[in-house]
Symmetry: D2
Subunit: 361 residues, 4 copies
Amino acid sequence: MTDSVDAVAAAPEPPLQSFASDNVAGAHPAVIEALSAANVGSVRPYGDDPWTVRAVDGLRELFSPDAEVLFTYGGTGANVALLQSVLLPHEAAICPASGHINTDECGAVERIVGSKLIDVPTVDGKLRPSDIAHLLHPEHGEHNVKPAVIAISQVTELGTVYSVDEIAALAELAHANGLLLFLDGARLANAVASLGCTVREMTVDAGVDRPPVGGTTNGLLYGEAAIYLRPELAARARFARKQTAQLASKMRFISAQFEALLTNDLWLTGARNANAMAARLAANVADIDAVQLLQTPQANSLFAVLPPELIRELQAWSFFWDWNSSEHSVRWMANFGTTEEDVDRFTAGVRHFAAEHAAQA
Amino acid sequence: MTDSVDAVAAAPEPPLQSFASDNVAGAHPAVIEALSAANVGSVRPYGDDPWTVRAVDGLRELFSPDAEVLFTYGGTGANVALLQSVLLPHEAAICPASGHINTDECGAVERIVGSKLIDVPTVDGKLRPSDIAHLLHPEHGEHNVKPAVIAISQVTELGTVYSVDEIAALAELAHANGLLLFLDGARLANAVASLGCTVREMTVDAGVDRPPVGGTTNGLLYGEAAIYLRPELAARARFARKQTAQLASKMRFISAQFEALLTNDLWLTGARNANAMAARLAANVADIDAVQLLQTPQANSLFAVLPPELIRELQAWSFFWDWNSSEHSVRWMANFGTTEEDVDRFTAGVRHFAAEHAAQA
Amino acid sequence: MTDSVDAVAAAPEPPLQSFASDNVAGAHPAVIEALSAANVGSVRPYGDDPWTVRAVDGLRELFSPDAEVLFTYGGTGANVALLQSVLLPHEAAICPASGHINTDECGAVERIVGSKLIDVPTVDGKLRPSDIAHLLHPEHGEHNVKPAVIAISQVTELGTVYSVDEIAALAELAHANGLLLFLDGARLANAVASLGCTVREMTVDAGVDRPPVGGTTNGLLYGEAAIYLRPELAARARFARKQTAQLASKMRFISAQFEALLTNDLWLTGARNANAMAARLAANVADIDAVQLLQTPQANSLFAVLPPELIRELQAWSFFWDWNSSEHSVRWMANFGTTEEDVDRFTAGVRHFAAEHAAQA
Amino acid sequence: MTDSVDAVAAAPEPPLQSFASDNVAGAHPAVIEALSAANVGSVRPYGDDPWTVRAVDGLRELFSPDAEVLFTYGGTGANVALLQSVLLPHEAAICPASGHINTDECGAVERIVGSKLIDVPTVDGKLRPSDIAHLLHPEHGEHNVKPAVIAISQVTELGTVYSVDEIAALAELAHANGLLLFLDGARLANAVASLGCTVREMTVDAGVDRPPVGGTTNGLLYGEAAIYLRPELAARARFARKQTAQLASKMRFISAQFEALLTNDLWLTGARNANAMAARLAANVADIDAVQLLQTPQANSLFAVLPPELIRELQAWSFFWDWNSSEHSVRWMANFGTTEEDVDRFTAGVRHFAAEHAAQA
């Protein structure tokens, strides 16, 4: 061990922004400024304030003038409140097996909404009509739950991006069978940046019924927006948000952040940067033998397979999580504030530890 | 109508801080500064960061070195997560009928935890041993839910404050019968300021098993602390917080706020101010015939009965809510930032509209 | 002790039918015969069989030709399925504090339906419009649950019987405020027998929206009927019954029992007997000093206060439960099969142990 | 059409017992007799009666002297009560995707227990250790539900039977990882008959922690037994049964049926007959070209693929359900009372309509 340490150069400086997730970042400075500016006087709580009016208007401009917008604390909460506000007790949501609501929300949907998630295996995190057509009309009446929602994420948990046509095909299938299409947009901005389309084209025009829009992953301290594109679906929504403990009393502080995010397309600029930095990292590490990229990044994340000891060394140097430890895969994710220097430092680190690891082998 | 308008002076300027609730206030400037200071670099999400370590340490110093501290987004969420982490399916919590979990959380406990609240009528929002002793051991076995928690608030929803001895008496009753005492401390600071005791005397020493501590009502933008004073009770707590959708990913921003609140006893200074301003308002309005105070304020809220038309006029001038519209009662509440000028302006407004109202009668 | 034993006669024979509850009885012989007759051949499960068609028709004749009828295993299940099939997540049911769903179903409504029960104290187990009018429109929007159902029992848990006018007044209040009136009819037959009206007068004509009708307490082995008098309310009902685990696969055996119960008004004959035997018992014990009747029986139950030691002695001789042990009250209940001899033997026993007890005092 | 009708003989008589399911059967005559015999006198409700003592003793003899036995109304209820009594809110059960709790209980587990089912695709309805080993320790802490139970069925929904060794392997895996093995024994008797082992060998000795045992599918009118083989697991069980609305008040009538079933091994005789009749049917139809058997029957059910029009004609003649209509598969199931004549009549019908169908083609 001493020998090999002697044989290699000292490890480079780690990046300032880690590549563990986009929630390792802080907030846009403009968001902090907006909070400070909103900290004046006394306003009514629970959203009856001018910041909320303006932030809702801003989101309506992006989505649809008729949209109902409800801010929540977090993304799991937004997912739960949206499902709670539409599902009847015997109704279920179809989702990809890799979906966040299925794998990473500790059973919140089953516990809080009380509804079954019908999870469907996918190749790449994307549901396709052919995967689910046979599930839409169960044959045994009241013995089966009744699918009422198709719940996808854009960007998916596996970093892939649905095309507008793929979303439209799911929406068409859903509506033709009396279901709703629900799109988890925690990284909607990254998808818009990736596809080069507008928010409206990807959601309203494609037939999406209700997306939540991520704020936290996109430069806020906290806060998500649950959006109802068909207002008649929103009747139960305010109760659902409160009952699922997602109604912020000092709402202005969520709304002011969203207002900042919507000003000068800060959301899009940040997402474009995150995507570009992921692409840069992918290009940078392409020639490192020890790193096997699982796909060309479509948004702001990369998935790679590395030797397990190399993973441990890199994690100790600049933290990220295992994606699937039995397959030795990891996820690296860039965020709105990741710089070229961060990418290059991280690349240097990967190169350094890979070389050291190769020397040891 | 024209005559009476002529007969009276123009309405005075309304206060800068309304008396509707303590969540109409913004945040302490020190809290905003702390957020700004925390917005540096990249740290692990979900609480694995230095701000959280320091904020937890600060709360342990106030409560107990063994306390387990979990931050949540909001107060309803803290209540739900705390109950979720301890109740078995057939167990119930006893609470005063006027309690926030019973009246103002839209059935969150019943929906999310799935547990019955056994609500007990009280005179003044305070449970007493004699109100509940007969409920502790239901006679019909599995036909009855089994009380496992006594859930009180300090300050109560009706603005009253338990003495340390009253809390200790409930704790003794609870423990002697195998129950836990759970104290909702959304306004714990105001209670400490009112009693002139320490946090520890009012909680740990009195036998409280788990309080959530309010941040939002006490000068934060958002954030509450769920505290487990007996660490063995915390085993299920992290899962409960995540499953109830109360785990903030960018946790440092809650923790940094709590750290600011704990620095130089900012929490106590703010609470003392709120209490003092409520007392000043009570003294100010004591001689206004149209205002009948329902009690001497014990913390930062006053309850008063006024003629209904006077209530409407005052609300249009400086908003507050009806407390009980059929009894024509209202609640006025001061906060950490309420000034003497706010109190005096509000008093002037009450006096003005009461005189106008008297002239009309 | 020896002396006093010498001083009294031997205890009389206990009654064949105990007075503990109406579920201590077996089944009508006609019901057993019907089961035996139904045990032929093979029929489709889950209610698609001729016995179910006939039993449903029989109940429609009693209630309304449009009624939707769903049989369940038990009464708690019928209550849960009925509420599950109509309440939205933020809606609540108002019930008397003494109601079975509130006190004796181990929190099934809160756990399975996830809904709050707003329990209202009453003098005699009966809700009155003046008790609940102020609860129908909570003032704080999404912060409060929204009452959607008034849930009463006829006969009540305290043995009292609503008049037809009293039910109609509650129905009118409910409907004028957009609520439904739900009547738990576990002992509907005893109420009909008590009032001398028809089932229809007491339910459909009075404005009841959905009663479950008791079978088990009325001479069946098991089985209740959940009845939807407004068919549009039944859309979710079949799913609710299955999901709450109340759908019997061999449904013919519930239906055949109901068919037997409806033949020759067996249900009414049995209920009349039960009521008459309760009245006889009340008359019999009226002159026993140690027994203080709490009310004149209105249906098939009596409530009485006795010295606690006398209660213990009587229970050891012929079992019944404490009603409220701290008040030394008990409930005695007659059933369809209670005979005059049972009543007279029980009276003799009460007289015997009361005398013995008086002698000891 | 007229021609082909002229060309074929009249359809044969359908069987007296249909092959749709085992719940199309009535009850063993001995079970009806036992009900009649139990209909004497008045006994305490809820299981405090001599029939229940004897039936519990009988099941303890089969399973284990320490077993805790709780009777429920139905199978879905038994499954729900068993899971309710052991799972904490963040815990989940792993089951085969084809399992009854996953597909045919209308989401009862998610709604009532509030827990996620982790459903695993299988080839033949049987879980194997290699299918699930990677699921036992999720990597992301409180973000993931925690598997706590492996829930299998014996016989499986697909008619296959685990060997004793296969069950033991799952139990070993479960226990080594801190999970419980829960075995749904709705058709346990058929499995015992198929394997030729004892109940104890297949459950207690193999390491099963808690089976529910089917009564309804095995000749009762209604009633299942939830069995806790490790008594310390039963602490919450009585509350869970009541809260899930599965506690029968006139319990003697379930217990008396079980007593009859256990007398002279009636349960085993019936199960052996059902299995033998399924085997006879498989042998009978083996040479019919239009019928493609999907497997050799291992217990009392056959799965077959037939031309869709032939399926419709046969169903109209003697009802059974589609198993999977898109694959044109059906399930045929024999029961305790199926006779050789039933099998032969059904075979004749299949042969008849297949020939007619071939003639039309």
